[in-house]
C-alpha cells in the first residue's frame, strides 16, 4: 500500500465534512438531489443524538429482528481445518435472513422521522429488497423495489417474497440488468419523486451521508462481537473476515475494530471466474479496478480505459457490484484492511463444506468469506481467534447452487 496516504490518529473518525474518506466518497449527484441529501444528513445527525430514536431502534432490533445475533464457535470446521479457532457471527439468523435488516430498520425509522411517505430501494440478490419490503410492510409504507431483469431471473424466490410482502418489484432492463442498473433506476425514480420518497440504499455506497450512515447502522455487528468475544474468550479476536459486495456487512463488522491495531482484517471480494480472466469475469473492484466516480461517490470501480463502467460477474448476485464503498477504498489505500478475493468455485466448495460440517446453509456471499477462512485458518495457531461474518443464509441460493453442481432440483 502506498505510504503517501496520510493516516489519521483514529481510523474511525471519517468521513470529513465533505463526506470524504481521504479522496474517496463525496456527493457526486445531480442538483435535483442535492437538497435532499443535505436534508437527509441533517435529519440523520439529529436522530443520532436523540435517545428516543436509539430506543425505538433497539426495541425493534431485539423483538423484531432478533438481535443480538449469536457469536458461534464453529467447532467442527475449526477441527477440520486444524488451525485457528473460528467463530461465526450469526447475522444470517436475523429476521429476513441477512444483515440487511440492520440497516433497513435504521433508515426506515429515519424516513418516518422525516415524514416521508414512500420507500424505494435497489436490490441485487434480493436480500436488501426483501428486508426493505418487510419493514415497509411493518410500518405500512408503500414500497417500490428496483431489481435488474437478470437478477430477477436468478433470484426468483426473493422476488416472490417481496411481492408477498406487498412491494412492487420493478424489473430494470437498462444497461445489463444487474445491481448497478437497479441503482441507476432507483436514482432516476428518486429525482422524479423527490418530495415524498425516501431512498433506502442497501450498502455503504452512494453519496454522503449514506456510506457513513449505513456503516453506523451495521456497526451493531462489530459492537456485539466485541462484547460476545470478551464474554466467550476474555479477549478480543485476532482476525476478522467478511465478504464484500458494496461492503456493508464488512464495514459493520470491521468499523468497531479499526483502531485495535493488533487485529488483522480481511475483506473478501468476488473473483468470479478469476480476476486473471480479465474484465467481465469478476467483481473485485479493489483488486481489478481503479478510482472513479459512480452512484454519488468516488471509489474503486471496474471500468474501461475510457471510464465506462464494466459489469461485475459473480455466482453470487449480492457481490457483483462494480464498485465498493468509499471507506473500503480508503482503508485499502491506508493499508488497514487486507482485501483479497475468492472465486465462484472456491465459494461453492466452502458453501458445501459449511453445510456438511456445521449444519448451516450459508448464503453464497459469506461463502466467499468462508473460502478465505478455509485458506487462512490452517496456517494459524489454535489459540488464534478468528471471526467470520455469516451475514446471510442460503435458502435463496439453493437453485443457483444446484445449477452450478449440475443437480436438477425437481428430479431429486
Amino acid at each position: 500500500m502506498s505510504d503517501s496516504v496520510e493516516r489519521p490518529n483514529s481510523l474511525r473518525s471519517g468521513p470529513d465534512d465533505h463526506g470524504r474518506f481521504g479522496i474517496f466518497g463525496g456527493r457526486f449527484v445531480a442538483e435535483t438531489l442535492m437538497p435532499l441529501i443535505l436534508d437527509l444528513e441533517t435529519a440523520y445527525e439529529e436522530a443520532k443524538k436523540d435517545p428516543a430514536f436509539k430506543a425505538e431502534m433497539d426495541d425493534l432490533w431485539t423483538h423484531y429482528v432478533g438481535r443480538p445475533s449469536p457469536l458461534y464457535y464453529a467447532e467442527r470446521l475449526s477441527e477440520h481445518l486444524g488451525g485457528a479457532k473460528i467463530y461465526f457471527k450469526r447475522d444470517e439468523l436475523n429476521h429476513t435472513g441477512s444483515h440487511k435488516a440492520n440497516n433497513v430498520l435504521g433508515q426506515i425509522l429515519l424516513a418516518r422521522r422525516m415524514g416521508k411517505k414512500r420507500i424505494i430501494a435497489e436490490t441485487g440478490a434480493g436480500q436488501h429488497g426483501v428486508a426493505t419490503a418487510t419493514f415497509a410492510a411493518r410500518f405500512g409504507l408503500p414500497c417500490v423495489i428496483f431489481m435488474g431483469a437478470t437478477d430477477i431471473e436468478r433470484q426468483k424466490p426473493n422476488v416472490f417474497r417481496m411481492r408477498l410482502l406487498g412491494a412492487e418489484v420493478v424489473p430494470v432492463t437498462s444497461g445489463t440488468g444487474t445491481l448497478k442498473d437497479a441503482m441507476n433506476e432507483a436514482l432516476r425514480d428518486w429525482v422524479t419523486h423527490v418530495e415524498e420518497t425516501f431512498y433506502i440504499i442497501g450498502t455503504v455506497a452512494g453519496p454522503h451521508p449514506y456510506p457513513a450512515m449505513v456503516r453506523d447502522f451495521q456497526s451493531v455487528i462489530g459492537r456485539e462481537v466485541r462484547e460476545q468475544m470478551m464474554a466467550a474468550e476474555g479477549r478480543l479476536p485476532d482476525s476478522l473476515v467478511a465478504c464484500i459486495g458494496g461492503g456493508s456487512n464488512a464495514m459493520g463488522l470491521f468499523h468497531p475494530f479499526l483502531d485495535d491495531e493488533g487485529i488483522e482484517i480481511f475483506g473478501v471480494e468476488a473473483a468470479g471466474r478469476g480476476v486473471d480472466q480479465g474484465d467481465g469475469h469478476h467483481a473485485a473492484s479493489l483488486t481489478g479496478g481503479r478510482p472513479g466516480v459512480l452512484h454519488g461517490n468516488r471509489t474503486y470501480l471496474l471500468q474501461t480505459d475510457d471510464g465506462q463502467i464494466i459489469d461485475g460477474h459473480s455466482i453470487s448476485a449480492g457481490l457483483d457490484y462494480p464498485g465498493i464503498g468509499p471507506e473500503h477504498a480508503w482503508l485499502h489505500e491506508v493499508g488497514r484492511v487486507n482485501y483479497v478475493s475468492a472465486t465462484d468455485r472456491e465459494a461453492l466448495d466452502a458453501f458445501q463444506t459449511c453445510c456438511r460440517l456445521e449444519g448451516i446453509i450459508p448464503a453464497l456471499e459469506p461463502s466467499h468469506a468462508l473460502a478465505h477462512v478455509i485458506k487462512l485458518a490452517p496456517t494459524l495457531p489454535s489459540d488464534h481467534l478468528m471471526v467470520m461474518n455469516m451475514c446471510g443464509r442460503g435458502d435463496k441460493d439453493v437453485f443457483t447452487v444446484a445449477a452450478a453442481l449440475g443437480v436438477d432440483v425437481d428430479e431429486n
Binding site: 465533505h18 463525496g26 456527493r27 457526486f28 449527484v29 445531480a30 442538483e31 435535483t32 438531489l33 442535492m34 437538497p35 435532499l36 437498462s174 444497461g175 448497478k180 442498473d181 441507476n184 436514482l187 432516476r188 429525482v191 422524479t192 419523486h193 423527490v194 478510482p291 472513479g292 466516480v293 459512480l294 452512484h295 454519488g296 468516488r298 470501480l301 471500468q303 480505459d305 475510457d306 471510464g307 465506462q308 463502467i309
Partner: protein, 277 residues
C-alpha cells in the same frame, strides 16, 4: 470569466436580435461517428444556436430511456472521449460561432484526467461543460479548473433548488444557467408552463446570466412557449427520438435519418423564432 467566450457572444447577439436561443442536444457517436458528424454539421443550418454534445456514459443516472439508448448505441459503435473531442475539432474547421457545450457525467472525464481533458477540450474548440453529477459541493473537481481554462461551466438548477441553495449554485456558474423545468429525468414528461415564468425570472435576477430551460420540450409549440419566457430553449430527447425512428433493425442509420433529424430541428427552431414576433 477572464474573457468573453463564444457563449457570451452568442447570447449577446441573441439579445440584440430580440429573440430566445435554441439549444439542441445530440449524443456524440450516435448512431455512428460519421452520421453523428453529419448531424452536428447540419444543426446550425437547421436553426440551432448552441449545441450540446453528449459524452456517452454507461450509467447516465439522470437520463431517460431515449438518451440512455443513444449513449449505449454510441458506445457500442466504439465512441470514446478522444473521438468525441475529435468531432468538435472537425466541426470547428468550418464553424467558428456556434458554441459547443459538452454534456455528460464526471467519470469519463475523471478517467481521462481533468487537466488533460481541459487542454484537449480547449484545443478542440469546446466552449462549455455541463456535468450532471458535479454539484457546487464538488466545484474543486472540475468547475474551478474549467473556469481557469476559460471554459464555461454551466450548472443545472432544479425546482428543488431553494433560495438558500441558489446563491451557491449560481456562484461559479458561467455562460448560462440551465433550468431543469421539472424534477425527473430527461424525456420523461411534457413540460408545463405553470410557474415557469416566475422560476426563470428568479434565476435571471439572481444570476445575471441567461437562463436556458430544458427537460420535457417535445414539440415546436412547447419550444415556442418556453422561448416566450426564457433566454433559450433546450431540446434533446425529442430530437433523439427522431433519430431512433430512422434506424434499421440492426440499429444502423437509414438514408433518411440525417434529413429527418435536421428537418425536425428546423421545426423546433421555427417554434423558438416565432415566440416573440
Amino acid at each position: 470569466m477572464k474573457t468573453e467566450t463564444r457563449l457570451d457572444k452568442k447570447f449577446a447577439a441573441l439579445k440584440a436580435e430580440g429573440r430566445a436561443g435554441f439549444v439542441t442536444y445530440v449524443m456524440a457517436g450516435d448512431p455512428d461517428l460519421e452520421t453523428s458528424f453529419e448531424i452536428l454539421k447540419g444543426l446550425p443550418g437547421a436553426g440551432a444556436d448552441i449545441i450540446e454534445l453528449g459524452m456517452p456514459f454507461t450509467d447516465p443516472m439522470a437520463d431517460g430511456p431515449a438518451i440512455q439508448a443513444a449513449g449505449l448505441r454510441a458506445l457500442k459503435g466504439g465512441q470514446t472521449m478522444d473521438k468525441t473531442l475529435d468531432l468538435v475539432t472537425r466541426f470547428r474547421q468550418d464553424n467558428q460561432d456556434t458554441p459547443i457545450v459538452l454534456m455528460g457525467y464526471y467519470n469519463p472525464i475523471y478517467s481521462y484526467g481533468v487537466d488533460r481533458f481541459l487542454e484537449a477540450a480547449k484545443a478542440a474548440g469546446v466552449d462549455g461543460l455541463i456535468v450532471v453529477d458535479l454539484p457546487p459541493e464538488e466545484d474543486e473537481e472540475l468547475c474551478l479548473p474549467a473556469l481557469q481554462a476559460n471554459i464555461n461551466f454551466i450548472r443545472l438548477t432544479a425546482p428543488t433548488t431553494d433560495d438558500k441553495r441558489l446563491p451557491a449554485v449560481l456562484a461559479n456558474t458561467s455562460g448560462f444557467v440551465y433550468y431543469v423545468s421539472m424534477t425527473g429525468i430527461t424525456g420523461s414528461r411534457d413540460i408545463d408552463s405553470g410557474g415557469l415564468k416566475t422560476a426563470v425570472q428568479r434565476l435571471q435576477t439572481q444570476g445575471k446570466l441567461p437562463v436556458a430551460v430544458g427537460f420535457g420540450i417535445k414539440t415546436p409549440s412547447h419550444a415556442k412557449m418556453v422561448a416566450q419566457v426564457a433566454d433559450a430553449a433546450v431540446v434533446g430527447s425529442a430530437i433523439i427520438d427522431q433519430l431512433a425512428a430512422h434506424l434499421d433493425d440492426q440499429g444502423a442509420a437509414t438514408e433518411g435519418l440525417v434529413p429527418a433529424v435536421l428537418t425536425f430541428t428546423g421545426e423546433l427552431a421555427g417554434g423558438v423564432r416565432s415566440a416573440r414576433s
